[in-house]
Subunit: 389 residues, 2 copies
């Protein structure tokens, strides 16, 4: 297990407090990060339905998943033998029955079928069919959207979690250096990405790296006008920019970071925009402190870059930490107008300043922790446009 047992107890207690405040008796979480957070469970089995079920009046949760993954729960969690339940394999990708039929049966067996059950209505791993199966099999239950309840508990990190994020920061420092070294005119994109992956996974001599919840994204050339393109086997080209949005990951904890490179003499518009973005980032980071609102951080950026005529209509950041594919964001806070969440110490954000124009763009980002007095950027990599002439 990645944490002391006492840390899991704190997590369960905080989760139950939020359940009680919302009148939720039984929580079903399918988010792999939430399942890991509450029990330690870690395996690439989330491609089939599985969940952790926590009743507010029971000391421990139960894990329900595919039978072949039961031993993964025994290996990675603190759960008692009887708290790990496997469904038969013929539930997998069947059109006559669904794993959540089985989950519903287990809930009914425990007498929880007339209680208020919280579910993650907008989580990737809670399909429309999953919900229908539960509703059909548990007609007396009252269902309520959890609205990322466990994600919100996760949003304030423990010291042990921050330690893992700092280790992830050491990894991204190596990764970014490796990427910048590897990218040259004529080098195939896939060959540079192979080096990036190697650095992400090998980690440092002290600790190894884990897979990141998002793969390396590196739009290049005209592709820099959009953020989420991956790579091809075409070579990098002299006179073109490349955006690197990468992360280090340590025991599922992420430190994402973006930088922009140019091979050759960068155009004035790119160097100007970089200067403005860097100034805006300084302003936004300087605004961070406990008690300030998420939208205030964005306002500091917005006001700073307005004088240059620069606008950005997408959010400038989101909370991050423990996660699994397809996203390293926590789906709680966004740094954008209207998000009136107050910052607290040990919240962690990825502040990503991406500007995407018709046929060019740039990204510069930092992952920061909210301290007692300000912002601590976790990784230490120069922020400026990387120019290789």
């Amino acid at each position: 297990m990645q944490f002391e047992r006492a840390e899991y107890d704190v997590r369960l207690t905080k989760t139950k407090e939020r359940m009680e405040a919302r009148g939720i008796d039984v929580l079903i979480t399918v988010d792999p990060a939430n399942m890991c957070y509450l029990t330690g469970y870690d395996g690439w089995s989330f491609y089939v339905p599985q969940c952790v079920v926590l009743a507010v009046d029971e000391p421990e949760p139960i894990w329900i998943g595919r039978k072949m993954d039961v031993n993964a729960a025994h290996v990675t969690t603190y759960l008692k033998q009887e708290s790990v339940i496997g469904y038969p394999d013929d539930y997998v990708q069947s059109i006559t029955k669904h794993p959540f039929d089985y989950v519903a049966d287990k809930i009914a067996e425990r007498g929880w079928d007339n209680r208020t059950i919280g579910v993650e209505m907008d989580n990737y791993y809670f399909t429309a069919q999953s919900f229908f199966s539960l509703q059909y099999k548990l007609p007396n239950a009252r269902f309520q959207d959890l609205y990322s309840l466990v994600n919100w508990v996760r949003s304030v990190k423990s010291e042990a979690e921050v330690d893992y994020m700092r280790q992830a920061a050491r990894i991204i420092e190596n990764v970014m250096r490796t990427a910048i070294d590897a990218i040259e005119p004529g080098v195939r994109q896939c060959d540079a990405v192979a080096h990036i992956y190697h650095a992400q996974i090998t980690g440092t001599p002290e600790f190894g790296g884990d897979y990141t919840a998002i793969v390396p994204m590196l739009p290049t050339g005209e592709g820099t006008s959009t953020p989420h393109l991956t790579w091809s086997d075409k070579p990098f080209v002299e006179g073109e920019a490349t955006i690197l949005e990468l992360a280090g990951c340590r025991r599922r904890y992420h430190c994402p970071q973006a930088r922009t490179m140019f091979l050759g003499e960068p155009p004035q518009k790119l160097t100007d925009a970089t200067k403005w973005v860097l100034e805006g980032m300084e302003a936004a980071l300087a605004a961070v402190r406990p008690g300030i609102l998420c939208e205030d951080v964005e306002a500091a950026w917005r006001e700073c870059v307005a004088k240059y005529g620069l606008t950005k209509d997408s959010r400038i950041g989101y909370s991050t930490g423990l996660n699994y594919p397809p996203d390293w964001g926590e789906h709680t806070m966004s740094l954008r107008p209207g998000d009136r969440t107050e910052l607290e110490p040990n919240m962690c954000f990825h502040m990503i300043l991406g500007i995407w124009m018709d046929d060019w763009g740039l990204e510069i980002s930092e992952t920061f922790r909210v301290t007692e007095t300000g912002a601590e950027c976790l990784a230490n990599v120069p922020r400026d446009l990387v120019v290789k002439a």
Copy 2:
């Protein structure tokens, strides 16, 4: 684009034929592989809601996604400018509005709101909330489960698709060799996996590799009792087994493969079980030919290994090809009792013979194409237990 435009036209025609047969007027697909299959779209943007909408009486589909990803659709698809629609960023992870509210508006604008709309009820990327948003905003529409309609079109590959799978096979041959070379007693698991990733992504001198829909899985020691564990930074240990379930990926087309290694002198139970599994695999592969049923292939395995007292209560394979995380399986056919789908030429399967006991296990697998007369294993790697003494 990865294929000739004519190939996309064939895919659209086949999809519309199935829509007509099922009385579906408008299809909404959120599966990233289906979106790519129908339009060419390729980017890691599926962590926010997005879809391709195809009306049975329109020549081309439309793409709806996040505004910042619109340029990714322009870069990677054949779609006309006006067929690519971006929703504003404040729909992202909001608790007051949902991207599928926006999708519903676009459907209503086209007058499709009183038609029969097919949706992917059990797809990862079609959350319960996505469906509720559509239902609420389109009260006159009739919704129908697509039951993987596009996935079924995908299940029979074109020659161009088979070519990519053969390239993926060349990659997995390199990857498996690299993995076997790297794993030694005392080597950290993460360091071996770093080499595996490097080989996956760098590909061959002729073509590069792409990210696989599932990360390298390599349970080791007691972990071999379950299939979906990833790695740690602990060293491999003399006297222990390691299961390698890896893939090569070329332009999103996969060739998965599993092998089992032992460091030292393997126990008799492992060498015996390997012998039985290899014999069962030969029997199952020999049964493959067009016209035979999925369940018949499994029966050939079952009958062969029964004489050794070996049983396996999970499916022995599934169709594979084009895919995105979290799964390289196509969610159509399974090689198991009750699946009476007839095999056709150019269907491709991952036959995975995994045996997981209390504290040990093994896996051996092949990805094969159904030919006019039998099975063609795409990659050429010795199947036997790999013993490093």
